[in-house]
C-alpha cells in the first residue's frame, strides 16, 4: 500500500483529535462505565472522521479505504479498548450496509447525521441464542401494511444505551437458516423498544453494552436497508468491514502496548541491570514486534484487495483471527514483563490485559474465523 504525505497529515489529524478530545477523559469514562458518545462523535464528525469513505453527498469524505486503515491504527492507540470499539461500530460496523445498499431517503435521514456525529448508531445482530451462529437468530419483523412489527431481543449491543438508531438484523420470513432475513434501520425512539439492561463487562468498560427488547415495535418498511430477504448476505458483507477495522485497531493497540512495555523494561532495574538486558526479554519483544509487523503488512494487502473490489472474506478472516490471538499474546507478555505493578489498576497494563481479550470473541470469534477458513479451503467435510 502506497502511503503519501496526505496519509501522514491525516494520521496527525486523528492523533490530534485523540490527544485533545479523548485521551484526557479515558480514565473518567472507564470509571463511569460509559462515555458521552454524542459529545465525542460530534468532535469526530467535525474533523470528518466518521465517514471517511462515504459519499460526499451525505457528508462523507470520499477517501479510499487506505485512510480507514490509518484511522484504525491511530484509534487503536487510545488507552482503552472501549472508545475505539464504540467509534468503529459507528464507522465500520453499523453504517457500511446503509451506505452500500440503503435508499437515498434512508441515507439522508440516518447516514448523514451519523457522519456528522449527531446520531449514534449500533449494530444489532447478536441475540441470547444466536451470536456466532447468525443463521440462528430469532428476532422477527412481521409485515403489517407499510410497517414492520418487530418482536425479540438483542444482546451485547455496543453503544446500546445511547444509540439513536440500530442497524437491525431480523427474520422477515419463515424460510429459516440464512434465508429470509432483512436489515432495518430501527430508530430507538420507537414505542415498544427498550433497553432491558446495561451489561457489566470484564473489559472495554468505557463503552456501554446493552440488552435490547422489542415488543410490537413498529417501523416503516421503507426503513429496510437494500432488499427484503437479503439481510444475511448484506450483513456478511458488512462483517468484512468490521473484521478489517478490528485488525487495524489491533495493530495500533499492540504497537502502543509494546512501545510502552519496551520503555518500562529499559528503565526497570532487576538484579543490578535493566530488565531489557535479559536476552529472553529482548527476544520476546523482537518476536512480538515482528508479528505485529506481519499483521500490519497483511492488513495493507487486505485493504488493497478491498480497494480493488475483490472478495476479501478469506483475507479479513485471517487478519481478524491473527489479530485476536496476537492481542492476547501481547497483553500476556506486557503483563508478565511489568510484574506486580502491571497487575495493579494504577497502570495501563491491567486495563489493556482485560480489554485485549475481547478481540478473539467479538466480531466473530476465533472459531468462527476458523470455520470460515476451513470451509473456504475445502477442509470442511460436511460430516
Amino acid at each position: 500500500m502506497q502511503f503519501t504525505e496526505e496519509h501522514e497529515q491525516f494520521r496527525q489529524t486523528v492523533r490530534g483529535v485523540v490527544e485533545r478530545s479523548i485521551a484526557p477523559y479515558v480514565d473518567e469514562w472507564e470509571e463511569a462505565g460509559s462515555f458521552p458518545a454524542h459529545q465525542v462523535f460530534r468532535v469526530l464528525g467535525e474533523a470528518g472522521l466518521l465517514g471517511i469513505e462515504y459519499d460526499p453527498a451525505y457528508g462523507g469524505q470520499g477517501a479510499d479505504h487506505s485512510y480507514t486503515a490509518v484511522l484504525g491504527e491511530e484509534l487503536g492507540r487510545i488507552d482503552c479498548g472501549g472508545v475505539p470499539m464504540a467509534i468503529s461500530v459507528q464507522t465500520d460496523m453499523a453504517t457500511p450496509a446503509l451506505h452500500r445498499f440503503g435508499s437515498h431517503e434512508l441515507k439522508e435521514r440516518y447516514l448523514a447525521p451519523a457522519i456528522r456525529g449527531e446520531h449514534v448508531a449500533s449494530i444489532a445482530v447478536t441475540e441470547p441464542d444466536a451470536g456466532s451462529d447468525v443463521a440462528g437468530l430469532r428476532t422477527r419483523a412481521v409485515r403489517d401494511g407499510d410497517e414492520w412489527v418487530v418482536n425479540g431481543t438483542k444482546l451485547y449491543i455496543t453503544n446500546g444505551t445511547q444509540a439513536d438508531w440500530l442497524c437491525l438484523l431480523v427474520r422477515t420470513s419463515d424460510e429459516g437458516g440464512f434465508r429470509g432475513m432483512s436489515q432495518i434501520v430501527f430508530p430507538t425512539d420507537t414505542p415498544g423498544f427498550s433497553v432491558s439492561r446495561k451489561l457489566d463487562k470484564l473489559g472495554n468498560r468505557s463503552s456501554d453494552t446493552a440488552e435490547l427488547s422489542f415488543v410490537d415495535a413498529r417501523v416503516p418498511v421503507a426503513n429496510t436497508i437494500g432488499q427484503v430477504g437479503m439481510g444475511f448476505q448484506q450483513q456478511m458483507a458488512q462483517f468484512q468491514n468490521e473484521r478489517m477495522i478490528a485488525s487495524y485497531l489491533a495493530v495500533g493497540s499492540t504497537s502502543y502496548a509494546l512501545e510502552r512495555t519496551e520503555a518500562y523494561v529499559r528503565q526497570r532495574r532487576v538484579f543490578g541491570a535493566p530488565l531489557l538486558a535479559n536476552q529472553s526479554v529482548q527476544f520476546r519483544l523482537a518476536e512480538l514486534r515482528a508479528e505485529v509487523e506481519l499483521l500490519r503488512q497483511f492488513n495493507y494487502a487486505c485493504a488493497e484487495a478491498y480497494v480493488r473490489g475483490e472478495d476479501i472474506t478469506r483475507m479479513a478472516s485471517i487478519a481478524k483471527l491473527t489479530a485476536g490471538r496476537l492481542a492476547r499474546s501481547v497483553a500476556d507478555t506486557c503483563m508478565q514483563f511489568h510484574g506486580g505493578i502491571g497487575y495493579m489498576e494504577e497502570t495501563w497494563v491491567s486495563r489493556y490485559y482485560r480489554d485485549a481479550r475481547l478481540l478473539s470473541i467479538g466480531g466473530g470469534a476465533d472459531e468462527v474465523m476458523l470455520r470460515i477458513l476451513a470451509r473456504m479451503d475445502g477442509l470442511d467435510t460436511g460430516l
Binding site: E5, E6, Q9, V17, A47, G48, Q61, G62, A63
Partner: protein, 259 residues
C-alpha cells in the same frame, strides 16, 4: 475581509532539538511542521473571515529552505493561499530581519488584519509581530484572548496578569493571539486534499527588495555569543505530614511570595 496570518514552520518539538555548534542556531534543515501556537491564529482568522461573510486567509511565512509541510497543514485547515519567502540569504536572520521579510511580504497581500502568535515555540523571542507592526506603520495589540471585528475596528480582550484589558483599534492592525483564543480545527481528509492545489507563492529576499545587508547573518544585529546547558533541576522538598504539614506548606509558599 482579508486576513494575513504569520506562521512559522519549526522542527517537530517532539524530536530532540539540535543546535548548530558554529552558529548556535537551531538546526532547521529537516522536515518542518506548523508551529502549534500558529494553529490558533489560523483558526481565529478563518472564524473572522467566516463571520465577515467573505474574504480569505493568506499565510505569510519565512523559511531557510523551501519546506512547505507546515504551510500545507494550515492550508488544509482552510487558508486560501500562502506566501513563502525562502532564500539561503535569510539563514541566520534575527527577529528584526525576520520582521523585515514578513512585513514586505504582508504588504503585497494588502490585508485588513494581520494575526500572529504571541511567540514561536522554537525561538520564543516574542518580538517579531510588534516589529512587523512598526515596519508596516500599523497599530499592534498583543496577547489577545478574544478578537472581534466590527466594521473598520477590531475589538480585543487583551490578557494581562490581573485579568484582561478591552482594547479597540482601527483596522488594519496587527494582533497577536494566545493559545486558547479559539480551539483550532483539525484538517479533514477533504481539507488535506484541497490544500494540495492551493497556491504557495515562493519568493526570494530580492523579490521583496531586500538584500544580505538587511536580512540573514549580514543584517542581524543580534549574535548568539554562547550557549550553555540549563542547570539541572534540583529535587523538590517532600513535606511529610506530622500534623503541621499545612503550616510548613504555607510557610514555603510565603517564602516564594506566592501567598
Amino acid at each position: 475581509m482579508n486576513v494575513v496570518v504569520c506562521v512559522k514552520q519549526i522542527p517537530d518539538p517532539a524530536a530532540p532539538p539540535a543546535l548548530d555548534p558554529g552558529t548556535h542556531n537551531l538546526v532547521r534543515s529537516g522536515k518542518l511542521i506548523l508551529d502549534d501556537s500558529d494553529a490558533y491564529g489560523v483558526e481565529m482568522a478563518l472564524q473572522l473571515v467566516d463571520a465577515a461573510g467573505g474574504g480569505e486567509v493568506t499565510l505569510v511565512s519565512m523559511a531557510p529552505n523551501g519546506e512547505t509541510s507546515g504551510l500545507r497543514t494550515a492550508l488544509a485547515m482552510g487558508a486560501a493561499k500562502a506566501i513563502l519567502v525562502s532564500d539561503e540569504t535569510l539563514a541566520g536572520s534575527d527577529a528584526l530581519g525576520t520582521a523585515k521579510v514578513l512585513a514586505a511580504a504582508i504588504r503585497r497581500a494588502e490585508p485588513d488584519l494581520v494575526i500572529a502568535a504571541t511567540e514561536s515555540t522554537d525561538g520564543y523571542t516574542g518580538t517579531t509581530p510588534v516589529q512587523v507592526a512598526e515596519l508596516l506603520g500599523l497599530p499592534s495589540v498583543t496577547f489577545a484572548k478574544k478578537v472581534e471585528v466590527d466594521g473598520q475596528t477590531v475589538k480585543v480582550e487583551r490578557q494581562t496578569e490581573a485579568g484582561y484589558d478591552e482594547v479597540t483599534s482601527p483596522l488594519p492592525a496587527v494582533v497577536t493571539v494566545t493559545a486558547g483564543v479559539v480551539e483550532p480545527r483539525y484538517p479533514s481528509f477533504k481539507g488535506i486534499m484541497a490544500a494540495k492545489s492551493k497556491p504557495v507563492d515562493t519568493l526570494t529576499a530580492a523579490d521583496l527588495g531586500l538584500d544580505g545587508s538587511q536580512v540573514g547573518v549580514g543584517g542581524a544585529r543580534q549574535e548568539i555569543v554562547s550557549v550553555v546547558e540549563a542547570e539541572a533541576r534540583s529535587a523538590g522538598e517532600v513535606v511529610v505530614d506530622e500534623g503541621d504539614a499545612h503550616e510548613r506548606v504555607i510557610q514555603f509558599l510565603e517564602q516564594l511570595k506566592i501567598l
